[in-house]
């Protein structure tokens, strides 16, 4: 065992570091970089400039084919770049879904001339993409979606509603899965398209989250026309295409969010129980030890994943462990930290509270972390079925025409 980069990896890490040092600032001190409550015009401009710079320097789309501006590099180099970038303050939040999920799906299913048109502008950040999957009646049960597309000459006409679409209001294009045949069973009547988000009939409304942020949107479709040429995969094969998109999600190895154990240790030094630092309290110590063991366990699980990547293996469904453990741990540490503050744990004023308010912020943002991108329950199902080989659930909607299946809230 060793923790060393190979020669090639080390050289690449040095290159990435040099690029980042020349173009971005190192994160300073213990102050967390909090997710902004929304991406405004100025932030979009910063994101676009950064992405163009990164693409021009050859650090965007590392694993992509060279003809689209990629480097055809091993996924381990992407992980290494992400590790290095994580030390710097760089604008984030605009391209993860487009470059991580939408464009890889396009590369698997779109026509060559479409790829020539769309991939490079996406890579340079000139065009932003979103993913239109979830619906009010289909979240965890994604295939229960009801947005309809009906063939009309050379076009399809879309009516319905999507929800939880990150960045829809900033996007130029989107990938969408819709129902084209409600008489077929759930998974068989779906078809996949990409579309122009500026098409007439699309209305985007932000969702105001309990944390105060607005990362997601509702997107309404009224007689939106999409040319059949923008269909990805065959009619009725939309579910298969969706799985391609979702597989790409797994490559995203979760990063550590704050507050983490070290933040809790620091807080416990300052807070007092029975006139002594909370860090001397047995109950507090027990909690810290348990979370430390979990944090370290995840860190070394990431190292094992990196080792597999380094050997050219592809991470599978076992990667679900990262988000499953991280999201709950974040919520639990946030809540416990506030308990240590006592009544003042309620206070949000940065001047009056501890740790720049990160415990309060995490209390309100962590519920979404446990749901978005696969809820805890779905991740446990994935581990049980796809890693441990448990039989899939008995489904009452199996083989039943979709329009005979109850969906949503009754």
């Amino acid at each position: 065992m060793d923790f060393n980069d190979t020669k090639e990896e080390a050289a690449f890490r040095a290159e990435a570091r040099a690029f980042l040092s020349a173009n971005a600032e190192l994160k300073a001190g213990s102050r967390p970089v909090l997710r902004q409550s929304g991406v405004d015009a100025a932030a979009v401009k910063r994101c676009k400039e950064w992405q163009a710079k990164k693409a021009d320097a050859g650090f965007a789309g590392l694993t992509w084919p060279k003809r689209f501006g990629g480097k055809e590099a091993s996924p381990i180099l992407q992980v290494i770049y992400n590790q290095e970038e994580d030390d710097f303050v760089v604008p984030r939040g605009l391209y993860e879904i487009g470059l991580g999920m939408c464009i890889p799906t396009m590369m698997a299913y779109a026509q060559p001339e479409q790829l020539d048109r769309y991939v490079r502008p996406a890579l340079r950040g000139e065009e932003v993409w979103c993913q239109l999957f979830s619906e009010p009646a289909g979240g965890s049960d994604l295939a229960a979606l009801r947005t309809r597309a009906v063939r009309d000459g050379g076009d399809w006409v879309i009516n319905g509603q999507k929800i939880w679409t990150s960045g829809a209001h900033l996007s130029d294009f989107g990938i969408i899965v819709v129902r084209t045949d409600p008489d077929k069973p759930k998974h068989e009547g779906l078809t996949f398209f990409f579309l122009d988000m500026k098409s007439p009939g699309i209305e985007v409304r932000p969702i105001h989250q309990m944390s105060g942020a607005s990362h997601f949107n509702e997107v309404f479709f009224t007689d939106v026309r999409v040319p059949d040429a923008q269909r990805l995969g065959a009619v009725g094969q939309g579910w298969k295409v969706s799985l391609t998109t979702l597989m790409n999600e797994r490559l995203a190895v979760g990063d550590v969010q704050r507050p983490d154990v070290d933040d809790l240790v620091e807080l416990s030094r300052k807070m007092r129980i029975d006139g002594k630092p909370a860090l001397q309290n047995g109950a507090v110590r027990e909690k810290i030890a348990e979370w430390h063991a979990r944090s370290q366990g995840l860190k070394f699980t990431r190292f094992r994943t990196m080792t597999a990547l380094s050997k050219g293996e592809t991470p599978g469904p076992e990667n679900s462990i990262h988000k499953l453990v991280n999201a709950s741990k974040l919520q639990d540490i946030a809540s416990y930290g506030l308990d240590l503050m006592g009544n003042n744990g309620l206070v949000l004023d940065e001047d009056l509270t501890e740790a720049y308010g990160m415990f309060q912020a995490a209390l309100l943002s962590s519920p979404s972390a446990r749901i978005a991108g696969g809820s805890d329950e779905i991740l446990r199902n994935i581990i049980a079925e796809r890693v441990l080989g448990m039989p899939s659930d008995i489904r009452v909607d199996k083989g039943v025409p979709f329009n005979k299946v109850p969906t949503g809230k009754r």
């Binding site: 065992m1 060793d2 027990e286 810290i288 030890a289 430390h292 453990v325 049980a384 080989g389």
Partner: protein, 367 residues
């Protein structure tokens, strides 16, 4: 980044797994459990012949010189097989104490015999209730003679030598080697009868000290063995998850395999998560042992906490997944449930290691 065992060690692990699946069946474990034998003596001889006991002992002292990563992969398999042999007592505790604290002469005297199985070792630390700490040690050595009582001592009833923690002439806790041939001892009934446990009474027995004493030497043995025992715990937890998985696919209720119910799926997923976290921490522990890393103590406390939790969770939820049959004597679930507690209590229980972990975090963060 190469955070995995080498192909050679994976091969060793696979060989060990096959060998133990054949030679250390539940029937063999049950001979000790039912009191027909104190330990699987025949199996022990074979393990010794294959060089497993001395895996991490350098060749100059009669070991196989495979290094600590080798001992770690073997430990995982011993845990998976709930092996009723004094492997941990001899290889992780007695041999480690002599290797880390003993003089060259002591190493030459004892290590080859421990490695070839002709001597069984044990570690006599506890004196009744409580976790390891200097103030809990009352056994004393005066004029080279040991007086006091130690219980429970894993494998104390079958061992040839004991590493005894006792107060030395300078009123410091220290490590001593005791020949147990003429020592008064009696076997204890415990939660895990598949392992021998005894009480040892010393009444002026001549002993040799290992090194110059101090609690640091004791803690060093505890730290190093915690990583090795963690691999046993990981192996045991993995075996429980396999059993639960198999049963959940075979057992039908309400017209369907119980593994198709989310209540069972989520239970198994939680066992898997705890196991993977423990396994990843154990890998780091293996690295720390083989490199003698500066953060070995913190790595040991960390993996001790997560491996103890993982094995406890897996062994109890394995019983739960089996339902009624799971708590019968005939089905093997309880072998793991017992071993989980046995491993979780020896060398200090979870509260002790959690407290130590935070001590070490405080020291690290202050540095």
């Amino acid at each position: 980044m190469n955070f995995d065992f080498s192909d050679d060690l994976k091969q060793l692990r696979d060989q060990a797994r096959r060998f133990l699946a054949e030679q250390c069946t539940p029937a063999v474990v049950r001979r000790s459990l039912d009191g027909q034998e104190t330990h699987a003596a025949a199996l022990w001889r074979e393990i010794a012949q294959m060089g497993w006991i001395g895996a991490a002992i350098p060749e100059e002292f009669g070991g196989a010189g495979l290094g600590y990563e080798g001992l770690c992969v073997l430990a995982e398999e011993m845990g998976r097989a709930v092996a009723p042999v004094p492997f941990g007592s001899t290889a992780y505790l007695a041999a480690e104490a002599i290797l880390t604290a003993g003089s060259d002469a002591q190493r030459r005297e004892y290590l080859p015999k421990l490695a070839d199985g002709s001597l069984i070792g044990c570690f006599a630390l506890s004196e009744g209730n409580g976790n390891p700490e200097p103030s809990a040690i009352h056994a004393r050595v005066v004029g080279g003679r040991l007086t006091g009582s130690k219980w429970p001592v894993a494998d104390g009833g079958i061992a040839d030598i004991a590493i005894v923690v006792a107060i030395d002439e300078h009123r410091q806790p220290g490590l001593f080697v005791a020949d147990l041939k003429d020592v008064r001892r009696h076997d204890l009934q415990t939660l895990d009868p598949s392992r021998n446990h005894a009480r040892l009474d010393f009444d002026g027995l001549p002993v040799q000290q290992l090194g110059s004493g101090g609690w640091g030497a004791v803690q060093r043995v505890l730290d190093r063995s915690a990583i090795l025992f963690a691999f046993e715990q990981v192996g045991g937890a993995d075996a429980c998850l396999q059993m639960a998985k198999d049963y959940a696919q075979e057992r039908y209720a309400f017209g369907r395999p119980i593994g198709s119910f989310q209540a069972i799926k989520h239970k198994l997923a939680d066992m898997y998560v705890a196991l993977e976290l423990a396994r990843s921490n154990a890998y780091y522990g293996a690295w720390a042992l083989s490199e003698d890393a500066t953060d070995l103590s913190l790595a040991a406390a960390t993996v001790r906490v997560s491996a103890t939790e993982a094995f406890h969770l897996a062994s109890k939820e394995n019983i739960q997944t089996h339902g009624g049959i799971g708590f019968t004597w005939a089905v093997d679930c309880h072998l793991f449930y017992r071993r989980s507690k046995q491993l979780g209590l020896m060398i200090g229980s979870a509260p002790f290691w959690k407290n130590r972990l935070v001590d070490l975090l405080e020291t690290r963060n202050a540095a």
